[in-house]
């Protein structure tokens, strides 16, 4: 397994170049230069290791091969067959010999889908293990041919804490990521190509079928109501992201400059006031503000009792009011954060820039537009882009403030302030329209990935990762 200890020898043993070539050519080389046991290890895993005295390692390979095939023959192959058909037995009711109705459950498509994905994951895992087996089979042969003892299990374990430390350290985190990040994701992507939705199946969610790209077609406009909803929600999401990003950006910059003005005392007290407001968890403040501005909430009551208003203001109940309100409240949420970032940057502007500008007779206005602003924009551009993507996916602010309300009857379960992500949440959580929701999820991914990749690839942090260290 360990590539680094290989040395070219004169004993005729062939050294395989593990680093340069692709995996198929490595396997081909191993097959060409391997002896009988190594070649047999392609079929009987661990054989070469066993023959050459690496008992524990060989047994591990052999046992995992047996387990794998046992799994495949007992359930793996049927899982894959089920994955392809997704079941075809409808649930039926028959009248038994005793005259009572009996329900015979039909095939359950959802577990079939899930087990199918898991089976594929197990197969991929096995292939990786098999690759390791082939490599290790040849390595054992190679060591013997050079007259060396193959590595003992103790040495292997020691290596796991030294040259192979990455395998040890990534093992558990990777299992977690594969089990509950990657496979759910694959599962959801797969769902986007099925007609999986709760309402069509009486809440039972039994039989579902492959439908190809129909969900994507629907969402993008083949079906009028879906298409209408998607494009409208997308348009508002983009508008929201632009407004939310720029208001907090500009607001934060102005606030930072105000606090850092020369001659302002108690800077840290003022800063603390703003920081405290964001230190309180967001779900608390957002829920509170939502209730304060409710139709029968304290603000409306106060204004009406004072005689300012005759009837309650529709803060969150009328489309344009609600849209303006969420942007304004987002300023409240976002400005302290951007103020903190901007303060850091403002402090870092080299003071000699200002001094030389002053000597050249520049006034405050000129200095702001020629030095401060260009500097800030230059430094904060990556920040601006990531906060734009963050706002496209800003679930908390919208969901806790309005929950997407006011509902719009022209749209598929979406309201006028719904972003794509809050709509997605409603479609899955409340409506159970998983097929279409997954299609929307993939579209959101495409949008944010395009944005992010373009900018990330161009950033210095990506290009010069090694240079920096």
């Amino acid at each position: 397994m360990d590539d680094n200890n290989l040395q070219q020898t004169s004993s005729g043993a062939y050294k395989i170049d593990y680093e340069a070539d692709n995996i198929f050519s490595i396997i081909k080389q191993i097959f060409e230069h391997g002896d009988l046991f190594t070649k047999l290890s392609f079929l009987i895993m661990g054989l070469s290791n066993l023959v050459r005295g690496q008992i524990v390692k060989g047994l591990i390979f052999l046992c995992s091969e047996i387990t794998f095939f046992w799994f495949m023959f007992t359930s793996g192959f049927s899982n894959i067959a089920n994955f392809i058909t997704l079941g075809d037995k409808e649930p039926t009711t028959v009248i038994g010999s005793d005259g009572f109705e009996r329900k015979i459950p039909g095939d359950k498509s959802l577990p079939m889908l899930l087990f199918g994905v898991v089976t594929f994951a197990i197969i991929v895992g096995f292939v990786i293990l098999w690759k390791g087996n082939v490599k290790s089979a040849y390595l054992a042969q190679y060591d013997v041919e050079r007259g060396k003892r193959p590595k003992s299990i103790i040495r292997d374990i020691k290596d796991l804490f030294d040259v192979n430390l990455h395998k040890t350290m990534l093992f558990l985190p990777l299992i977690g990521i594969i089990a509950l990040t990657v496979s759910p994701l694959i599962f959801s992507i797969v769902i986007a190509f099925t007609n999986f939705n709760k309402s069509d199946h009486n809440g039972e969610m039994t039989l579902i079928d492959w439908v190809g790209f129909k969900n994507f077609g629907n969402v993008l406009g083949m079906s009028e109501k879906w298409g209408n909803s998607f494009w409208k929600v997308l348009l508002w999401t983009m508008a929201w992201a632009v407004f939310a990003t720029f208001t907090t950006y500009i607001g934060g910059m102005l606030l930072a400059m105000l606090i850092n003005r020369k001659g302002i005392k108690y800077k840290s007290i003022f800063r603390t006031m703003f920081v405290i407001s964001v230190a309180v968890p967001q779900f608390v403040t957002l829920l509170l503000i939502a209730k304060l501005f409710a139709v029968n909430g304290p603000i409306n009551t106060l204004l009406m009792e004072a005689g300012v208003l005759d009837e309650a203001l529709p803060f969150f109940t009328q489309a344009s009011w609600a849209r303006v309100m969420v942007v304004i409240i987002n300023v409240w949420v976002g400005v302290p954060y951007s103020m903190l970032i901007m303060t850091g940057i403002l402090m870092n502007i080299p003071a000699d820039l200002y001094e030389s500008a002053k000597i050249d007779g520049a006034n405050n206005k000129v200095m702001f537009f020629k030095i401060t602003l260009p500097y800030m924009i230059f430094v904060t551009t990556p920040n601006l882009i990531s906060s734009f993507i963050g706002n496209v996916n800003n679930f908390n602010v919208i969901y806790l403030l309005t929950g997407g309300a006011p509902d719009n009857p022209d749209l598929y379960y979406a309201g006028d302030t719904d972003l794509l992500v809050t709509w997605l949440y409603k479609l899955t959580k409340d409506q159970g329209l998983y097929g279409e929701a997954s299609a929307i999820g993939i579209l959101i991914f495409i949008i944010s990935a395009t944005f992010a990749l373009v900018t990330y690839r161009r950033s210095g942090a990506y290009k010069n990762e090694e240079e920096f260290q």
């Binding site: 680093e19 430390l165 977690g176 606090i259 230190a279 829920l287 991914f445």
Partner: protein, 283 residues
């Protein structure tokens, strides 16, 4: 001379205006929190700011045994347990992955980092329903264990900040230790970890905090198992349409009790985050 005087005069007016502006803005920013505090001590209900009398009832009722629907004390305990376990496991995962990505060189490193980046761009809600079904197959939905599993499993993907920190530790230190015969594991445990206190504390605090503020995953996984809720979702439920009239003031009191520790946590996090960003070995 006259010009200078008018300059300083206009400067003084600008100062005064700035102070006024700052005070007004501070009031706007702090007022919701003041309102929250006031309402937690009154019987205002959900349509007034001030109630008719000062009372501690809201706090007492939160923990009252007669309350059948909302078990605030239980939620608090649930959240605390989940948060503690999560922060231990997540910190372990994050540190392992970030150290590996920063310091160890192996074939799949770059691909792993790119894959992690791509995975992060999928909206989280998309796979939550799948997480629900997976956990349901192993009978973990509606349990605190399930919640811990769901929170921690993907933690390894959040390695960017800690990796950035490890990147700042000079490689020469590692190399010197290797020459002295240390294994990579020893370098990690005996050299890197002691140098990385700020980022370790930061990772612990953020993962502790995450369990307190999440209400989305809880809403998927716990369904109607009210006594397995955590605090954020429980409080969210308290002010939904059916409950707001009865529970509004209790919601305020409950929020205060969560907000106090989390606010302190946030301020600590700020400090360690700033220290973490400034690197391990100060120049």
């Amino acid at each position: 001379m006259a010009q200078e005087k008018s300059m300083s005069k206009s400067r003084a007016t600008a100062d005064v205006l700035s102070y006024i502006g700052l005070v007004v803005l501070s009031i706007i920013w702090v007022s919701p929190i003041i309102i929250l505090i006031i309402q937690s001590f009154t019987n205002s209900g959900n349509s007034r700011i001030l109630g008719t009398k000062f009372t501690l009832d809201n706090y007492i009722k939160l923990f009252s045994k007669e309350e059948v629907e909302f078990h605030y004390g239980k939620w608090y305990l649930n959240t605390f347990i989940v948060a503690i376990i999560c922060c231990i496991i997540s910190t372990f995962f994050v540190l392992s992955v970030s150290y590996t990505m920063s310091r160890l060189r192996f074939k799949m490193r770059k691909s792993f980092m790119n894959i992690a980046l791509i995975l992060g761009m999928f909206p989280g809600f998309m796979s939550m329903i799948a997480i629900y079904h997976i956990l349901k197959q192993v009978k973990l939905t509606g349990t605190l264990t399930g919640l811990v599993v769901a929170y921690t499993a993907g933690a390894g993907l959040g390695f960017y900040i800690a990796k950035g920190f490890f990147d700042t530790i000079p490689k020469a230190i590692d190399e010197a230790a290797w020459i002295d015969g240390a294994t990579k594991w020893q370098v990690f445990t005996q050299i890197t970890v002691p140098l990385s206190k700020p980022i370790i504390v930061y990772t612990i605090l953020t993962s502790f905090n995450a369990a307190w503020v999440d209400f989305i995953l809880v809403s998927y996984l716990q369904g109607d198992k009210v006594d397995k809720y955590t605090i954020a979702y429980g409080l969210y439920k308290m002010v939904d349409m059916q409950h707001i009239t009865t529970y509004y003031n209790r919601f305020c009191a409950g929020s205060i009790l969560v907000a106090i520790p989390l606010t302190i946590l946030f301020i600590c996090m700020q400090k360690f985050y700033a220290e973490g960003l400034s690197g391990a070995v100060k120049g």
